[in-house]
């Protein structure tokens, strides 16, 4: 799959688009980074992000290359439920909205998700949480870096190593220059590009083929895709829902935004982002169902979207797909680089290595960490080990184990540190066992169920009485 034979653009056009966006994103990163004099400006965009940029960054970060390419793949493999199941990923964003409000109330001066876990549950739960978070963040970074190289190669024929290097270089450069401000600013433009791209492709697919012909041809060739009782698709739906909630609830990508948004913006921004995100997998995915009408022979399921676009629109369609995929990749990669560097800076460097570091030292260290993360990701992605690409599949068990400890920690005074620790450890271990014993579609489900049971039982049997006011004093210097 993804061979040069599936390329829908020539390499010269690919290089031209890459060069144009490299210049644009890096220049904007430099421009927005000029004013970031303080650490808060660099790490959290001054804690003053408004509704427009807040909504767009939450939405763009959740639109990854997967959303734009795997949604059509799922439509082709799992039919209607594939698209609808994928769109349930938006539930995580919407459910996080009230949590953001609570987080800002309880931890107004926090920096990372680790700050909350450390102060709420103590050092050992914090360390286990950090391990889960770092496994997930590095796994996602590698997955995105590899996806960048593979997709650029598949769409343009540009060699994997070059494509992967260019996308990492661009994202590291502008994140390094402008910090979270550059990430959020570029996310707004990338959101608009993604939305215009998928709308254009969807409208042209409908006007060129029409719902009636599309429905008739799918019904004739692949009727199971229109079946509402397709069992595998329904299992996928629930697993995807829990994986999504776990990813958002624990990851510092989303917590750092909770701290970066202006007060009273977080709830609205996440809720609206969820509503805006929900239809994207459907709009981006349904064009795959045009494949039977177009008589397309699809060699690799994840290339069905670009192939339909290129068949319907020729060169213009291929360029639109390339820009959408490139924007989706960059908007997630930059956010992950910034949020992971914050986590390493605040929870590992500041928390474990140099607790007395000054703001200036932390600012310099933040840049070094972004650069180092970029280099490590590049080195791991370079050999293109196929199994690494599926790394993210295992992580459903990890992230789903954090859902209940986080919810209980935010809302239940009686939730205990020992219960949270046991829930994360047991949830992860049993979730991984389920992954290998039963299948990928139950890992997150089992992990969340085990974790929930432990949190509920431990809160009932070993209740604690947590003083919420302890959270309000979290600052960079408070690492006990």
């Amino acid at each position: 799959m993804n061979s040069v034979n599936s390329a829908v653009l020539n390499a010269s056009t690919g290089w031209l688009i890459l060069a144009l966006f490299s210049v644009l994103w890096i220049a904007l990163g430099w421009f927005w980074g000029r004013k970031a004099k303080q650490l808060d400006d660099y790490m959290l965009a001054g804690r003053n992000v408004g509704l427009a940029l807040g909504t767009a960054t939450a939405m763009a970060t959740w639109v990854t290359s997967n959303t734009t390419l795997v949604a059509p793949q799922f439509a082709l493999q799992l039919g209607i439920w594939g698209m609808l199941g994928y769109s349930l990923g938006s539930v995580g964003l919407m459910l996080f909205a009230p949590l953001v409000k609570r987080i800002r109330q309880l931890v107004p001066h926090g920096y990372t998700s680790g700050d909350f876990i450390r102060m709420r549950y103590g050092v050992w739960t914090w360390r286990v949480f950090l391990l889960i978070s770092m496994c997930y963040a590095i796994g996602w970074l590698i997955s995105l870096g590899m996806a960048g190289g593979i997709l650029i190669h598949a769409l343009t024929g540009i060699q994997y190593e070059y494509g992967m290097t260019v996308i990492l270089f661009i994202c590291v450069s502008y994140t390094l220059l402008g910090g979270l401000r550059a990430v959020i600013g570029t996310d707004f433009i990338q959101t608009i590009l993604i939305l215009i791209g998928v709308i254009t492709l969807a409208i042209l697919t409908i006007t060129e083929i029409g719902f009636d012909k599309m429905h008739q041809d799918v019904l004739a060739e692949r009727p199971e895709l229109l079946n509402l009782l397709m069992p595998a698709a329904i299992m996928f739906l629930f697993n995807n829902l829990l994986f999504g909630i776990g990813e958002i609830f624990h990851s510092n990508v989303w917590w750092s935004r909770a701290f970066a948004f202006r007060e009273n913006v977080g709830f609205k921004a996440y809720l609206i982002a969820g509503i805006i995100w929900a239809p994207i997998p459907i709009v981006a995915g349904f064009i795959a169902l045009a494949a039977p009408s177009l008589g397309l022979n699809v060699p690799a399921a994840d290339m069905v979207g670009p192939m339909v676009a290129a068949k319907l629109l020729g060169f213009t369609g291929a360029v639109i797909v390339f820009i959408v995929v490139f924007s989706a990749l960059a908007s997630s990669l930059d956010s992950l680089l910034a949020a992971t560097s914050d986590l390493i800076l605040q929870d590992i460097y500041r928390g474990h290595i140099n607790p007395s570091a000054t703001d200036e030292q932390l600012r310099i260290m933040a840049k070094r960490i972004i650069l180092l993360l970029g280099i490590i990701t590049w080195l791991i992605c370079l050999p293109r080990i196929a199994t690494l690409g599926s790394l993210l599949q295992y992580l459903g068990a990890f992230v789903a184990s954090t859902i209940w400890p986080i919810i209980a920690g935010l809302y239940w005074q009686k939730a205990s540190a020992k219960g949270a620790l046991a829930a994360m450890v047991a949830g992860t271990i049993i979730g991984i066992w389920a992954y290998f014993s039963i299948g990928f579609y139950v890992a997150a489900l089992v992990s969340a169920a085990v974790s929930m049971s432990i949190v509920l039982v431990s809160t009932w049997l070993l209740p604690e009485s947590y003083d919420w006011s302890r959270l309000s004093v979290v600052t960079r210097g408070d690492n006990k």
């Binding site: 965009a45 001054g46 003053n48 992000v49 408004g50 509704l51 427009a52 940029l53 909504t55 767009a56 209607i80 609808l84 769109s87 401000r181 959020i184 707004f188 959101t191 608009i192 939305l195 215009i196 998928v198 709308i199 969807a202 409208i203 409908i206 719902f211 009636d212 599309m214 429905h215 008739q216 019904l219 009727p223 229109l226 079946n227 509402l228 009782l229 202006r262 609206i272 509503i275 805006i276 929900a278 239809p279 994207i280 459907i282 709009v283 349904f286």
Partner: protein, 40 residues
């Protein structure tokens, strides 16, 4: 249980309409924040 053409068209059309409104909403938010100097 196969979905009919009209349900199929309804699902896709609803999703498309929400997606079409989204960039307009974001740009209106941006203009309002920019006017109030609340972008960031």
């Amino acid at each position: 249980m196969i979905i009919s053409e009209s349900v199929f068209a309804f699902i896709i059309s609803t999703a498309l309409i929400i997606t079409c409104v989204s960039p307009i909403v974001l740009i209106i938010f941006w203009l309002k924040d920019w006017k109030d100097q609340n972008l960031w």
